[in-house]
């Protein structure tokens, strides 16, 4: 039943290995890894710094090429030798740790940038950007410059940019790492809401245990030197989850287990 197992796959990582060449010799960022991301799930890659979780996400995004193994998006291999399959990439939106908004574009133009690259008319782009501003909760800031917004609002705009062309998959690399704890909690709730509203597949990288357990359907625990998956844990709480889910004993249990595994 291999076919059926793969049919529900948004992204498939099979036997993927990644080495970086440095002047001090090669570094193994990720050892042979297999991981299927299910369609519509919220998967969180959790681990300490240098465990290869960001590398794994960048491999999924097509920003890095695997040293060996296969990355498939929607059943299509991402790489044909040296060449990236841009058609497969078009189905994914990436949110980076920094908002990476272009300072010379207004918030609205930043959000609509992917649509501009795809040749959509200005009028339609505007409409879509407005709609997205409402979705991510920054309506009214369409005409501002990025530098006029707070870090949290900029990150909301960058999420809107990744959603603008309606990709099926959203890849997020520690998107809230630079935010304060309170903004971060609020953004976690918002992200859950957006995920439910848009029914995307989301893969999110974090080193925060509470964030991982709060957001994830499945937490993928990675360990470092060399980077590898040590455990995959299902998180059973019903959706939508409220912030107080963190106080539940089951939540604590999962969090403690993860903390224990991270320390050893």
């Amino acid at each position: 039943m291999m076919v059926d197992a793969d049919a529900g796959c948004a992204i498939r990582i099979a036997g993927v290995e990644k080495q970086f060449e440095t002047p001090q010799g090669p570094i193994r960022a990720l050892t042979r890894t297999n991981f299927p991301v299910r369609k519509g799930e919220f998967a969180v890659l959790l681990g300490p710094s240098g465990c290869g979780k960001t590398t794994m996400l960048r491999l999924m995004a097509g920003l890095e090429r695997p040293t060996s193994g296969v990355v498939e998006v929607g059943g299509r291999p991402l790489w044909h030798d040296e060449r990236r399959d841009d058609g497969a990439v078009a189905n994914m939106g990436v949110v980076f740790q920094e908002a990476n908004l272009f300072p010379w574009l207004t918030i609205e133009d930043n959000i609509a940038l992917p649509l501009k690259l795809r040749g959509m008319t200005r009028k339609l782009r505007r409409e879509r950007a407005r709609e997205l501003c409402r979705l991510v909760g920054i309506a009214g800031f369409e005409a501002r410059w990025p530098r006029e917004l707070s870090g949290g609002m900029r990150q909301r705009a960058s999420i809107a940019r990744a959603l603008s062309y309606d990709p099926e998959i959203l890849l997020m690399d520690e998107p809230f790492g630079a935010l304060d704890a309170i903004t971060r909690d609020a953004m976690n709730l918002e992200l859950q809401r957006i995920w439910i509203a848009t029914s995307k597949t989301i893969v999110l990288v974090t080193h925060s245990i509470p964030e991982a357990v709060f957001l994830a359907d499945r937490v993928v625990l990675l360990s470092s030197r060399p980077g590898r998956i040590v455990e995959i844990i299902d998180v059973p709480f019903a959706r939508p989850r409220e912030t107080d889910v963190r106080g539940q004993p089951e939540f604590q249990e999962i969090a403690d287990h993860l903390r224990h595994r991270l320390e050893h």
Binding site: L63, V89, W104, L113
Partner: protein, 276 residues
């Protein structure tokens, strides 16, 4: 309840101490200028300084007003302005073009770097007589000098700008499948623009210096030449008037470019003032 009273600020109008920094800066600048001119005027009149050495500001102003009415001054102004503009435009085209290529091809930049540094270090004004020999006494030699002087700051700043494109921004475009052309128009050009404009602001000032120095040393036209002629006839007052005229011209060029900055990169920190 003495404590209670002490925590309340005293009621009534408070006298705020006088501070010089509360005066708007432009009034300060203006006051300084007036003070300077008044001092100059007083010095010249009080000590009866010879007109050949230092004319008074009022005499200079009068002389400037007089030559402003003559057709020949405007002809000279036009020639100098034209030389400056042509030289500057040539410098912008070559400087930005070459800078963009060198910024994108580090190998080529490394190969050419010693030569760029060497030509930067050479006092280019010393080459002016050579250019006059090569390009004649007419406008061409001055245009070339203006271009050569303006070229380097534009080139160096363009290279810097193209190299300073943010890695995170690049990855955004990479994740969006942007074509090479799209990444140039959407990212590299706007990202390098503040640097290019800085180079141009430096360049335009050098352009006018180039044109005027060229006119000093050869030819029979332009404001530089007019200044030299006043000097040769010991008309120091008129010489000052020409210098004032030149300064105004230079200021206009510079102000135009600064205005371009506000227009071209309103998002940049350097034009952040006055907003909000």
């Amino acid at each position: 309840m003495a404590d209670d009273v002490a925590t309340h600020p005293p009621v009534g109008r408070q006298r705020r101490p006088f501070r010089l920094t509360r005066i708007p800066a432009w009034i300060g600048s203006l006051a300084l200028l007036v003070l300077f001119l008044a001092g100059w005027e007083t010095y010249v009149r009080g000590f009866d300084v010879s007109k050949f050495l230092l004319p008074s500001p009022s005499e200079i102003l009068q002389a400037w007003m007089e030559i402003l009415g003559t057709a020949s001054l405007w002809q000279h102004t036009w020639i100098t302005a034209w030389e400056t503009i042509l030289g500057f435009v040539i410098a912008v085209i070559i400087g930005v073009g070459l800078g963009a290529v060198l910024g994108k091809v580090p190998w080529l930049e490394q190969v050419l770097n010693p030569f760029i540094v060497a030509t930067q270090v050479v006092p280019k004004v010393a080459l002016v007589p050579l250019f006059i020999v090569w390009f004649g006494f007419g406008m061409t030699s001055k245009v070339v000098i203006a271009a050569v002087l303006a070229f380097f700051p534009i080139l160096v700043n363009t290279i810097l700008g193209v190299k300073s494109v943010d890695r995170g921004h690049r990855e955004v475009l990479q994740s969006l499948n942007a074509s090479r052309w799209q990444s140039i128009t959407q990212l590299e050009f706007p990202s390098a623009l503040p640097y290019i404009l800085t180079g141009m602001e430096m360049g335009v000032v050098l352009s006018i210096i180039g044109a005027v120095v060229g006119e000093y040393l050869g030819g029979s036209q332009g404001l530089g030449n007019l200044a030299v002629r006043q000097m040769n006839s010991y008309n120091t007052t008129a010489l000052f008037a020409v210098i004032i005229h030149l300064s105004v011209l230079g200021f206009l060029f510079y102000a135009t470019l600064v205005g371009c900055r506000r227009f071209a990169i309103p998002w940049h920190e350097s034009v952040q003032v006055n907003r909000k």
